[in-house]
């Protein structure tokens, strides 16, 4: 993990200010004037001594944040030099948490530098439970449509839920609020991995250490471009990091049985209505079929024969009848996690070969929920997560006896 080195000026400021209640850390550069006005507005319902920190080099004392108890501070952002989509965000999130720990804060709200989460309601939902010691970590439930956040819905959330035993909807999020009890755990997370700097999975880290967790629906939309060409890179980064975490935490998750409901704060509905227009599944089915024709040599090294046979059968279906069962998708993900650990094929190739299968699942899902409301689509996602849990014994068995193929 990159160690945060704070400049003398900032250290003096920390000493002069003394302990604070809340540090709001922006994980990237932000315009100080806008940051100040957004923070002032969003913190109007929270009476807490607050520092708003952002990545940058502007002299904070000269900034126009007067007549408020809020103080601005800039901190140097360590660069991961990776060019990866999420790694820079994770590095900045760790820096913010380290800064909050140094400041002796009771809570730290980490947020994206588009400042979309700096809204009174969002801040109230995420920060208050931590300040009131109701939770060590508050994760957001982004209010999304049925065709949004698909990697989280079909892979990151169900896999994390099955392994770590907490029903967190967005285990990898731009925004979250952590309490002082978990600062150290979160900043140290990942230092156990060799060589590769891992992403920060706050919910999974807190779940391992048995911390109290909560989640709240927030109407925050972060504009992230993920068109088709970026998909493989993003999927590779997220799935690769999650599988790496699974390898590091194998001793823990093999003992976890079932999953716990995470306390929910705020309103219960968190689905956004979509337009009535349909998604055309044909291009995704074509990608799946192309993968089935060409990547069989990799899939055969990763998946057991029964699953490759099932995939062959799926590849012969036409787009309208294309359905990938939840059990099959869960087993595919588990087998890819195992192949990632076993290195039967290069990890880059393992993760690259997952993209056509993921598109196959997306094609199947979009058809299943085409006429469904957002709530119904959400229930479909819960059903998928339950399938991941049901198939966990399969994963545990494969993990312990990888050469034994059923």
């Amino acid at each position: 993990m990159a160690e945060i080195e704070l400049p003398a000026e900032l250290l003096n400021k920390i000493e002069k200010t003394g302990p604070v209640d809340l540090v709001i850390g922006v994980t990237g550069p932000a315009a100080p004037s806008e940051l100040c006005s957004r923070a002032r507005n969003s913190l109007r319902d929270i009476s807490a001594k607050t520092i708003v920190a952002y990545a940058g080099t502007t002299h904070a004392d000269s900034l126009p944040c007067v007549d408020t108890p809020i103080q601005l501070a800039s901190f140097p952002m360590p660069s991961s030099n990776s060019g990866a989509f999420w790694l820079d965000i994770s590095t900045a999130q760790r820096s913010v948490l380290a800064l909050a720990e140094r400041w002796g804060a009771r809570a730290c709200m980490v947020t994206h530098n588009d400042l979309a989460a700096l809204e009174p309601e969002t801040l109230r939902l995420l920060v208050e439970p931590v300040l009131q010691s109701q939770a060590d970590l508050m994760m957001p439930i982004y209010v999304q449509g049925k065709y949004e956040g698909l990697i989280s819905k079909c892979l990151l959330a169900p896999f994390s839920r099955a392994l770590y035993g907490r029903r967190v909807r967005f285990p990898l999020s731009f925004d979250f609020c952590a309490g002082a009890a978990v600062f150290k755990k979160l900043t140290d997370a990942g230092s156990r991995a060799h060589g590769v700097a891992p992403l920060l999975w706050p919910a999974n880290e807190v779940a391992i250490r048995g911390g109290k967790m909560g989640q709240a629906p927030v109407a925050v939309h972060h504009a992230v471009r993920t068109d088709h060409n970026d998909l493989t890179a993003i999927l590779t980064e997220f799935a690769g990091s999650l599988f790496q975490e699974a390898e590091a935490d194998a001793a823990h998750w093999q003992r976890v049985r079932g999953s716990e409901v995470v306390t929910r704060f705020g309103k219960s509905s968190f689905a956004k209505e979509d337009s009535a227009a349909q998604i055309d599944p044909k291009p995704m089915v074509e990608s799946f079929v192309l993968g089935s024709r060409n990547l069989e040599e990799v899939w055969r090294l990763v998946l057991p024969p029964a699953i490759t046979l099932e995939l062959k059968r799926l590849s012969r279906l036409d787009a309208d009848n294309f359905r990938m069962p939840d059990t099959l998708w869960a087993r595919i993900v588990y087998d890819f996690a195992l192949a990632h650990r076993m290195r039967r094929v290069s990890r880059t190739h393992v993760l690259g070969a997952l993209t056509p299968l993921y598109l196959g699942w997306v094609a199947s899902y979009t058809q299943e929920v085409a006429s469904a409301t957002s709530e119904e689509a959400d229930r479909r996602i819960v059903q998928l997560a339950a399938a991941f849990e049901e198939q966990k014994p399969y994963f545990v068995s494969r993990w312990r006896w990888p050469e034994r193929v059923s």
């Binding site: 060799h194 060589g195 999927l235 998604i279 290195r343 290069s346 690259g352 993209t355």
Partner: protein, 235 residues
Amino acid sequence: MWDHVLQALHDSMGRVAARVAQILPGVLAFIVALIIFFILAWIFAAIVRWLLTALKFDQRVGRGSGSLSEISPAHTPTILASRVVFWAFVLVGVVVGLSAFEASSAEPGLAAYVLNYVPRIVGAAILLFVGTVLARFLSRSVLVTGVNLNLHYARLLSTGVKWMVLVLTAAMVLDHLAIAGAIVDLAFGILFGGIVFALALAVGLGSRDLVSRSLERETIRGPEDQHDEPRLRHF
């Protein structure tokens, strides 16, 4: 006359038998030396493998994205080190055997000749190993990337890349061994150029259809359709 023929044959048989009798101890010494060094090689390779496994060598040398196991998952650093030890012993065995063979035969300089050739053989073996591993890795990388870019000729590209690297490796190995230098140069030029030309033609002709199809799609679909289409957001 017939007696002379018989005498000549008899003398010839005698000379061959004497020659065989002269060489045989050398051949036996060669085989014995080879067997002994094979056994030693096996024992030392096992010791090295056991030691490195006990020291968790594979984990220590790093299992990051740039490590050997990323390019060739079947070859962990431990397996590679134990194989190097094994083949080093076998090589020493061959040299010792040849030396023993030379001592018991009337052919001087054989061991020295082979010994001088050994570095070339080792270099060629390393080139061959690296070349084949690289060919497989690059071909799979091209295949996976091509499929994820929806290229229908991904398999063709991947095979082309694999054979380009293999042909290049074969030419380098033969050149390193100083075997048929001019012919190899010429054959390599023709083969390599041929593969590149074939790939260029195949990809060029394939892409023509691809580009025209994509242009057709854009023309048929008006800008208002693009706004109406619901978008998938993967993250």
